[in-house]
Symmetry: C2
């Protein structure tokens, strides 16, 4: 009994340390190579995720080719400009120093896709909610993220892109949807604060704010107030 108890304590402590240490990395990649065995363990961890109807509807494209990554990085910069134009002057100034990707600085990219045809037509658990297949792919991404963190690697999820661009770039068939472009590789360190908090873009909220008992409970404060508060209190 005591051994079981100890094992569980080590498990929870190790897992929680990982969960809280994990970061969405942009600026800290070293570019050093990822050993094949490590990459394989990280991908196998993703592949061990739960999936609706055991459909495992994901695919992984490992991209190291520099020309491909350069083309994607240029696309990301164009989308950065699109987003900047949607911001008012104050938000645009706050956004300016924030890095949104580490595509060229990281060792490699992993593109994770969703194939709705896998296991179809009768995917158990998907008849009432079409998006459950997409949800499964995201569970795999989080497995991958935690495995990489445990292996001493950083992961950065880039989402400043248009799906058709990625589909064309990687010759992904029409029915298959790109879900995540992840940058992966060794890092100098994982930062203690998320970049967006460090730059005063957003602030994490307490768990109590998102917790409800038995049914939905309306909250007094609004989003706008929370954001305004963050902008007042946080140094850029």
């Amino acid at each position: 009994m005591s051994t079981e108890r100890d094992r569980r304590t080590i498990e929870t402590e190790t897992l929680y340390d990982l969960l809280y240490r994990r970061r969405d990395v942009r600026g800290e990649f070293t570019g050093a190579p990822v050993p094949d065995a490590v990459l394989h363990r990280v991908l196998a961890a993703a592949h061990a995720a739960p999936s609706v109807g055991l459909s495992q509807p994901w695919d992984f494209v490992v991209v190291t080719d520099l020309a491909t990554r350069r083309a994607f990085a240029a696309h990301v910069q164009r989308e950065r400009a699109v987003f900047t134009e949607s911001l008012d002057a104050a938000r645009a100034a706050r956004f300016a120093p924030i890095r949104i990707d580490g595509v060229l600085a990281s060792s490699l990219s992993l593109v994770v896709t969703y194939d709705p045809a896998r296991g179809a037509p009768a995917v158990l658990g998907r008849h009432a909610i079409a998006d459950t297949g997409l949800y499964s792919v995201c569970l795999a991404v989080q497995n991958l993220w935690l495995a990489a963190t445990a292996e001493g690697l950083g992961v950065g999820w880039v989402s400043f892109y248009r799906e058709p661009f990625v589909r064309d770039l990687l010759a992904i068939p029409a029915g298959i949807r790109p879900v995540a472009w992840l940058c992966l590789g060794p890092v100098t360190a994982l930062r203690e604060l998320p970049d967006l908090e460090r730059h005063g873009w957003a602030r994490r909220r307490p768990l109590a704010d998102v917790l409800h008992r038995e049914r939905w409970q309306a909250r007094p404060e609004t989003e706008a107030e929370t954001q305004a508060e963050a902008e007042t209190q946080t140094q850029p």
Copy 2:
């Protein structure tokens, strides 16, 4: 250096053990209570997930009320009948013994929702892909799942439901989307095989089948063939 190396080894071993041991539980719940401190740690783990633009767009509704859970369980059974009607005779027979939820057998339910208004209008990283907010919610679910597993609890994701039903049942506002209904609680054990594999519904595929280098590579076999093969080789 040696200490750092050892720590990492313990981390990876502990995490991989958890990732592979985790199951989607239906039949093994004991119904024993979940201590408040444990539930809090599990929810905090979910809340520590990465999110697009640091928007943390999730909410958690803890449901213990038996009347609520009974109403949901009845709805799930009606959706089971809907799915059964979509199957041919052979698949329906295979589906018949498979449990699809542990709503009443588990200790409690956790409903995870998505609020697209959180952090809006300018959610950093969402202007080009609206679904990234939904993706964030799923990352939180996988954190929760792994934390619960480390704490010795089982989790079962139920997806035989219509979203409007859950919204009405829990008084969830119109703009907010239910993403996951999770059953949680102590279990007698976690099974070695996923239920759907044990019952011959589906078989997990090797990682090599979903791995691509540099660009998408077409696979020779089709889904239908893989499924037919699984049905031939697996005992029901």
